[in-house]
């Protein structure tokens, strides 16, 4: 009974508002892929979270095909996201239902559909090599290298100074 044959459409497995701007193809094609994909984007990870930890959590929803760690473009070190590929769409749906919004390494992880991993996408897209969100972030986040890069470089004030 535990094997659900049919996919059931409910809010937690529907597409989020986010669309990858670097996708090669039309919005329609992108959404078509997202609807059948078994690949997930996992965000808000600590830089210190390892593939092993991610595997332990996500394998509880099904057999994981592979995990691709997101890396800093220049330093080639983890920069707080990854892609998790399942063999089956239903397992990926379970991860959307039961893992999205729960904790890994004390952080609430964000899980979203991804159209499928393509070489090159494992690298951060920020100017400084990491994820874009870590350039403009104004809070102090120990798990993601302290303040955002702009704050660190003095281009944005730390929040306490602005207030």
């Amino acid at each position: 009974m535990s094997s659900q044959i049919q996919s059931v459409h409910t809010p937690s497995v529907s597409l989020s508002k986010y669309r990858d701007q670097h996708f090669k193809g039309s919005r329609h094609e992108q959404e078509k892929l997202l609807r059948v994909s078994s690949t997930l984007y996992v965000g808000n990870l600590s830089f210190y979270t390892t593939e092993e930890q991610i595997h332990e959590l996500f394998s509880r929803c099904g057999d994981v095909r592979r995990i691709i760690m997101g890396l800093d473009k220049f330093k080639k070190t983890p920069c707080g996201f990854c892609f998790v590929e399942y063999y089956s769409r239903l397992d990926a749906e379970s991860a959307m239902r039961y893992i999205n919004g729960t904790r890994l390494d004390d952080r609430i992880v964000r899980v979203d559909w991804d159209a499928g991993f393509i070489e090159g996408r494992q690298y951060g897209r920020g100017k400084t090599g990491g994820q874009v969100r870590d350039e403009y972030r104004q809070d102090h986040d120990l798990g993601r290298g302290g303040y955002g890069k702009m704050v660190q470089m003095g281009q944005l004030g730390a929040p306490s100074m602005r207030e």
Partner: protein, 807 residues
């Protein structure tokens, strides 16, 4: 309403396209509106349920002309999809029947058909809810008492049929018993002797019933403090208690009581005589279960009292909570909210009921209904929604489970470890470990220290080693796992004396310089073979254990940085693995070397074995033999080893399932091709949709030839042979080590019931339970080859309990 009439008048419904579309959409809108009204009735509203019902009934009545079949369909669907609202819908149908006798008759007919269809389609819960609804219609004067009794009687007849599976007979009795809380009082008042007669027949049935399956399904092996009752026994006790209380219960809301004056005027219909569809071999019936209990009223704080184990309220509450989980399992937050909104919530210690029901599902034998993480995430959500109570109740539940873990079955032990580690990882691993100090004095193999150790191992997978070193109280040092690092013997002290060291070092350099598979084999060529062909009396091709040793340990150590690195290393040198290990013995040698390197990193071993199976470097049977090998004796009671065995069995099962599905599809396609001759295929080729259609029908696009199907059949047969062999290996090993243990204890005059024995028999049980669907196919083979009557009864019993599940 007027506008709709106007459309009706202008006749030709199938006329002009435009008009039709408008009309269809208006009709659709109206239908949807009706549907929403019916679905929502009884949900939060400012006015009373009674006035809502009255209002809705008059709307429906006036719409009967246009939407008769739609209304019939929705009204018969609702009590099945939302069984908790059964009495609301029966009241509605009662009121409709009072106004419109014909509609009432049509509805009964419709509902009876739904019931019969559900039985035919083996939709057992739907059938039970349909029966319950029919019974509740007696309360609303829609159906006559006599005809319901006749139906219930014919169901008990079905339970007394000969030569049908017991699970079928059980279901029929369960369906009748679980209907009685709704209609018992009415039957008691109107037809007491007929009701008594029905109960006597059920009692006779229950007394004759065998319950061999009972022990296999229990969460705990002992009945203290709470008996683990078989489901029919428990429900029977609850029904008997209900009878003692003159069939009055306090849980079911009965809105029809308010309409008594209207309803008692109505004329009743008779349910036609229904013969339950006879048994067919393809029918699958619900398996029996054990009613899970972990709390009684003494566990709960002052306040509303938890109904007793044999009070019918307990049954009704539990059934309601289970059905909320079923309905909302896709959305964990909705599920938590709905569980906490149980209509009866102020009269019971709700959190305790919810936690008990969720653990009942998590610990359900042979397997839980849904993914284990589904329950885990609902519990997290409940803690979020109800932070003042839920975490405390959950902690209390954990404490209770831990105190009773000595007698917990091994499958549930694993699920408990998995859940608890996952839960802790969501709450910063905060736990008052000090409270469990006393278990540190026990032997390491005792279930309590074992539980803590396994939980820490699983927590470690979610976190990192240093954290636990800091976090755990000092006394727990002996339970904290070692750091998960590789032990590469060729670079450790004393490596110089090992025969493979020089080659290993050369290999490291070669692999770092990006050599290929052939180069690796060349490097290994210097290594002597300690076992010549003459050494082995087996006809198998000889292999070189030293080559495997140096290669496997060196390669995996080079890839030790992460799973991905290891996987990449294995893929790159796939050919070397294949060249070195053709035979099962050689494959086992690979596994031993993997184990030697990664002995302290269980998760790594699990994923590497998984990988080796996926890329077909080792076969399932090799893994099974390795698990039971002498070298693994020290690991035998550790959870990860069984995680490996079960994933191996699952791989094999998936393979068989896939092949059999593919073959069935191909056979169907072939049959269709034969039916629809050449003309169709030409059509298809010409049609622009051909490509799409091909895609839809999945897989190979082209229609399979008979030859292809034959080949698929052969492949499937071969897979069955492999699968059977795998199960035979596993069960044979179990029987060997368990028999050896029992005999040895007997001759030494020692008690056989040791921790080791309990773990091992528990693991045997777990293999049966976790893979019951697949193992079942080989029941008769197992019975004639392995589980023969001369076997020790302790071992044989496990097998008999398993076969009793579907008896």
């Amino acid at each position: 309403m007027n506008r709709r009439r106007a459309y009706e008048d202008d006749g030709d419904f199938y006329g002009e396209r435009n008009k039709k579309r408008r009309r269809v959409s208006e009709n659709q809108e109206m239908e949807e509106r009706l549907e929403t009204l019916i679905l929502r009735v009884g949900e939060n509203s400012t006015s009373s349920l009674e006035s809502n019902l009255e209002g809705l009934v008059s709307v429906l009545e006036s719409d009967l002309g246009n939407f008769r079949s739609k209304i019939l369909r929705i009204l018969s669907d609702c009590p099945i999809k939302m069984p908790e609202k059964c009495t609301i819908y029966s009241t509605m149908v009662g009121l409709m029947n009072a106004k419109n006798y014909n509609f009432g008759g049509e509805f009964v007919e419709y509902m009876v058909k739904t019931f019969k269809d559900s039985l035919k389609q083996c939709q057992w819960d739907a059938a039970r809810y349909a029966l319950r609804f029919l019974a509740d219609l007696v309360n609303c004067h829609v159906i006559s008492t006599n005809s319901l009794l006749q139906l219930l009687d014919s169901m008990v007849d079905a339970a007394n049929e000969d030569n049908v599976p017991q699970v079928r007979r059980d279901w029929y009795v369960f369906a009748v018993l679980s209907t009685l809380p709704w209609v018992g009082r009415e039957l008691y008042e109107k037809k007491e002797s007929a009701l008594e007669n029905l109960l006597v027949r059920i009692e006779v049935f229950l007394n004759k019933r065998t319950k061999k399956h009972h022990n296999a399904l229990r969460v705990w092996s002992v009945d203290a403090p709470h008996p683990q009752e078989e489901y029919l026994d428990c429900l029977w006790a609850q029904i008997r208690k209900l009878r003692q209380d003159n069939w009055t219960e306090k849980h079911i809301p009965r809105p029809y009581l308010a309409f008594d004056s209207v309803l008692c005027e109505a004329l009743q219909h008779n349910i036609p005589v229904i013969h339950p569809p006879p048994h067919q071999d393809s029918f699958e019936y619900p398996m029996p279960w054990v009613v899970y209990r972990m709390f009684d009223y003494t566990d709960c704080p002052p306040g509303p009292i938890l109904p007793g184990a044999h009070s019918i309220e307990r049954f009704l509450i539990e059934e309601h909570l289970h059905s909320i989980i079923e309905m909302h399992r896709w959305e964990r937050k909705d599920c938590a909210i709905h569980l906490l909104m149980l209509p009866y919530k102020d009269k019971i210690p709700l959190e305790y009921c919810i936690v008990e029901v969720i653990f009942a599902e998590l610990f359900h034998m042979p397997t839980p209904r849904y993914l284990e993480i589904c329950y885990g995430s609902i519990l997290i959500e409940l803690c979020k929604q109800q932070p003042s109570k839920m975490p405390q109740v959950l902690a209390q539940a954990t404490e209770i489970l831990f105190m009773r873990i000595d007698s917990m079955n091994t499958s549930c032990f694993d699920r408990f470890v998995n859940w608890f580690s996952y839960h802790l990882s969501n709450f910063q691993f905060r736990w008052s470990w000090d409270d469990w100090d006393s278990c540190l004095l026990l032997e390491n193999e005792h279930p309590r220290p074992k539980f803590i150790q396994e939980v820490l191992l699983k927590c470690l997978r979610f976190s990192y080693h240093d954290r636990f070193k800091e976090m755990m109280p000092e006394g727990y040092a002996k339970l904290i796992p070692k750091p998960p690092v590789p032990h590469y013997k060729y670079s450790m002290e004393g490596a110089a004396s090992l025969p493979g060291t020089a080659t290993a070092h050369k290999l490291v350099v070669a692999i770092r310089q990006k050599c290929n598979a052939e180069d690796v084999l060349n490097e290994l060529n210097d290594l002597p073979n300690s076992r010549d062909a003459s050494d082995t009396d087996m006809a198998e091709a000889p292999f070189n254990p030293l080559k495997i040793d140096v290669f496997v340990q060196t390669l995996l150590n080079l890839g030790s940085k992460s799973f991905s690195h290891s996987f990449a290393a294995i893929s790159k040198f796939h050919a070397v693995f294949k060249a070195l290990a053709e035979t099962e013995e050689a494959q086992i040698c690979i596994l031993h070397n993997m184990f030697e390197l990664w002995v302290d990193h269980q998760q790594m071993m699990v994923v590497i074995v998984d990988k080796l199976l996926k890329v077909q470097i080792v076969e399932c049977s090799a893994v099974a033999t390795w698990v039971f090998s002498k070298e693994m004796v020290g690991e035998f009671t550790k959870m990860y080893l069984w995680e490996i065995l079960h994933l191996t069995i699952k791989k094999m099962n998936q393979h068989v399932t896939k092949l059999s599905r593919e073959m069935n599809e191909a056979k169907e396609k072939l049959a269709r091709t034969v039916e629809s001759s050449s003309s169709e295929s030409e059509d298809e080729a010409a049609s622009p949709n051909a490509q799409k259609r091909r895609k839809n029908t999945e897989g190979s696009g082209e229609k399979p030839t008979e030859e292809q199907v034959e080949r698929m059949e052969e492949k499937l047969e071969a897979a069955y042979v492999d699968q059977k062999r795998l199960f035979l290996i596993i069960f044979q090993r179990f029987i060997m080590i368990l028999s050896e243990h029992l005999v040895k204890c007997d001759t030494d005059g020692r008690d056989y019931d040791t921790d080791w024995y309990r773990w091992t028999i528990g693991r045997l049980q777990q293999v049966f339970m976790m893979h019951h669907e697949q193992v079942q196919k080989y029941s008769s083979t197992l019975e004639s080859l392995l589980f023969t009557s001369d076997l020790d009864p302790h071992i044989l019993d496990v097998f008999h309990q398993f076969t009793a599940l579907r008896a």
